[in-house]
Symmetry: C2
């Protein structure tokens, strides 16, 4: 029933593209003169040749159905991570296959959880490729969330998708190509702008490039062991904070902004909700840091803004070890790990639009109790939300917390405490990266057992693909006619 | 708009009844010869006279509306706790008003969180009254959940309520009185049976009475500092485990069981879900205790069964300090704190029926994604569930986790760690009692600051009254015509 040739052909094309991207790291190696060009060349060629061969040998022309779409999306990330781990394995930078796969899956899913104990010991060209996996993953997510998932009728995505220029519901071609090009142009332009600004603020070009890649992808991989704390300039912190916020915004809104249609932005309820949550969390955190921990005012605001935006957008960059911020802020950060960016951004997690719809529905329920015979629908951006979308959002939340809960148990069974277990589940499922306890800001994921690393890779993948894309493959209904 | 005379009159009647119940503790004091009879007599008379006076002076005959109902329910528990704390204050057993109110609210809400550091130092007659507050609270909850809330059109309650003999939707009188009598007869019969069995198993009559009161109410107040661990007989542990399970079952099902209509029980999906969750959790816990902690098999099963049922049913009795059971079981117990008993039982928390409906809806969502044009409703006990009930369940869950999250932050702001903060929120909102960390099985709630005790009292009340009953009083729509 599944269109296997079409699935294989699409995957072949995607592998070919990732191989071509990987080739750029050979140039980086030569420029940086770090001696990794042969390892990178072999990896790239293996990837290009495999992708190219599959593409050439497979039949073309058959249409891709909805079920094929689910398969392609999930398999893409897995196949990307398999080939993407080659440079780490062949160069010997990460000799273990499990570790290399974890690191690459963490990259392509824009999670940013690392098994590297000493990032700075890794040759620059490999750090470049590591950053690039996130940037490519972010590109993939923009197309996935703004074009492919709505086409697959993924509930809540339909809500805002009507706003995206050029996307229609039932036809993938030729509009998808057009939309993807526009969105990627914005994505690339933002990345370049950030890179230039970071260089102006004093960051070396190489670091600026890598951090711009991982900021716009809300990925969080750094070239430094201390993450962004390695850079002392406050300007660098502010610039990255701003671009993390931007990366957590719906890219369709960025499109409107660039075309001067600002009303589309300031009347978008998800954006306003996202902005309010960011601002409120920054204010609370700054106040606690300034009064409770006695940080100087500017530093309090800067660190608060950086860490709040980093967690909410699921980026995971670090400028301060928030585990020393006292129990109140630790709990606040833990809760913010369950927010996520806006839908249509590169941010992971639950997403603002879902939280907003749930909040609206819950508030209205009090009204419905008082007027039980009245029909009181949830309204979003001045339209009534149909029940099937509310059902979908609810199902998403239930799956999310169910998976987080069960995962917390599984992680605890490996011997980790409650805070580590649940924050690890939240940090991987939400594609954030750092968590609490043994996965805190100054820690890494190297201490997990073999099974744990594969399990967490699965969580990163499931979370990144909006749960349903992966879960549906385990449903008996998927395989019935 | 509110029918104030009717509200006051109803509250007066309820205070009068609680005063009469309190009078029985005077007899207990005389029998146990603990010298508290005067304090108890004064408290009882104050309560009886206040209630009687209000009842006599208020006008009768006016009908009670829905909004009045919400007010009466919330105010009942508050007024009960105010008068119920008199014996503790007047006797000097709990001199602080805040502590006495907390302890009584914890009683009437069947929570079982205590501020007492040395329970055994409290005179028996006061421990009797303390246990009785839970028993009365349990009675109140049965009527509330099986008769009053359905009448107030509280969403998910309507689902199973049609099954209750003698309850109609729109008329409180005279059926309510009849139903209440039947349910209370069952409740009292179960309590008496448990007491006799406990005495046969070797528990002193006084302790057997008090523990039967607090078992059937899923309250968890004990007469011993070590809770049920103070009794070494395994039979006592098994008996209490069985009755906790019974108390967590819908009392309407118990009614059918006593009338030989067993098919009503074993075809009830909520009951089967409740049973499965209990059995599965016991098996997992026993296995970990028997293999990981190397407990003897019988002890492992007994302690596992006791603690699992105690937490799921929100009773809160203790036979073992589960904080020493390793991270996996600590996380499991934390998750079980978010289950709760069956609807229509004396158990608190989220309730099995809600979890079941959410699970069903989430699973169906995968099917809906594959067949987007098909209308696939949730089915419960062989009937389609209307969307408004699913909406209500969703709103309940959102409020529940929102309140738990915000409360966790507020508790953390008092200086408690993450595990303590969230488990305290879960243990009070879910009316369980013990939690993790500083509110663990061998700890108590005395160390909370003044504000904390009032705040936790509010959480206990809100959780006990199914959230909406209290939250609706804060809604602007409640006060509009």
């Amino acid at each position: 029933m599944l269109n296997k040739p079409a699935i294989i052909r699409t995957l072949g094309a995607l592998v070919l593209i990732s191989g071509i991207c990987m080739l750029t790291s050979v140039a980086v190696s030569l420029i940086m003169d770090d001696g990794q060009h042969m390892a990178l060349l072999i990896s790239s060629l293996l990837t290009v040749i495999t992708g190219g061969t599959v593409l050439l040998l497979s039949k073309s022309g058959s249409t891709i159905g909805k079920r094929d779409g689910y398969f392609i999306v999930t398999l893409s990330w897995i196949v990307f991570s398999l080939f993407g781990s080659l440079p780490f394995i062949i160069s010997g930078a990460i000799p273990s296959f499990t570790d290399a796969f974890f690191e690459t899956m963490s990259g392509f899913t824009t999670t940013g959880a690392t098994i590297l104990k000493d990032i700075e010991a890794v040759p620059p060209s490999l750090l470049y490729w590591r950053s690039m996996t996130q940037w490519l993953g972010g590109m993939g997510i923009i197309v996935l969330s703004l074009a492919i998932l709505p086409m697959l009728k993924m509930g809540s995505m339909q809500l805002f998708i009507a706003e995206v220029p050029g996307v229609t519901y039932d036809k993938l071609h030729p509009k998808l190509r057009e939309t993807a090009k526009r969105l990627w142009a914005i994505y690339a332009a933002f990345t370049l702008t950030e890179m230039i600004l970071l260089m102006v603020a004093g960051m070396p070009a190489f670091d600026a490039l890598c951090h711009s890649f991982t900021t716009m992808a809300t990925g969080g991989y750094s070239t430094k062991n201390a993450s962004i704390a390695a850079f002392s300039s406050p300007y660098i912190h502010y610039i990255i904070t701003f671009f993390m916020f931007l990366a957590g915004t719906n890219f369709a809104l960025a499109y409107f902004g660039l075309h001067g249609r600002f009303k589309k932005i300031y009347t978008n309820q998800e954006f306003l909700f996202y902005l309010s949550m960011v601002v409120a969390s920054i204010i609370i955190t700054s106040l606690v840091l300034a009064t409770g921990i006695n940080l100087p005012f500017e530093q309090a605001v800067r660190e608060a803004a950086f860490q709040v935006v980093s967690i909410i957008t699921t980026t995971g960059f670090i400028t301060a070890d928030y585990l020393h911020w006292g129990p109140f802020l630790i709990v606040l950060i833990f809760l913010l790990m369950f927010t996520g960016g806006s839908a249509g951004s590169t941010g992971g997690g639950i997403k603002m639009v879902r939280l907003l719809l749930l909040a609206k529905n819950s508030r209205l329920e009090l009204r419905r109790l008082i007027h039980p015979s009245a029909i009181i629908p949830v309204r979003y951006n001045h339209r009534s939300v149909p029940p099937n979308i509310i059902y979908n959002v609810m199902a998403f939340m239930v799956f999310y917390f169910f998976i987080a809960g069960i995962s917390g148990m599984i992680i605890a069974a490996m011997g980790y405490d409650l805070a580590t277990s649940f924050s690890t589940a939240a940090a991987t499922l939400g594609n954030i990266g750092p968590g609490l306890g043994a996965v805190g800001p100054v820690e890494n994921y190297s201490h997990f057992p073999l099974f744990g690393k594969w399990f967490l890779s699965f969580l990163m993948l499931t979370g990144r693909l909006e749960l349903f894309t992966v879960l549906i493959l385990f449903s008996k209904w998927f395989y019935r006619n």
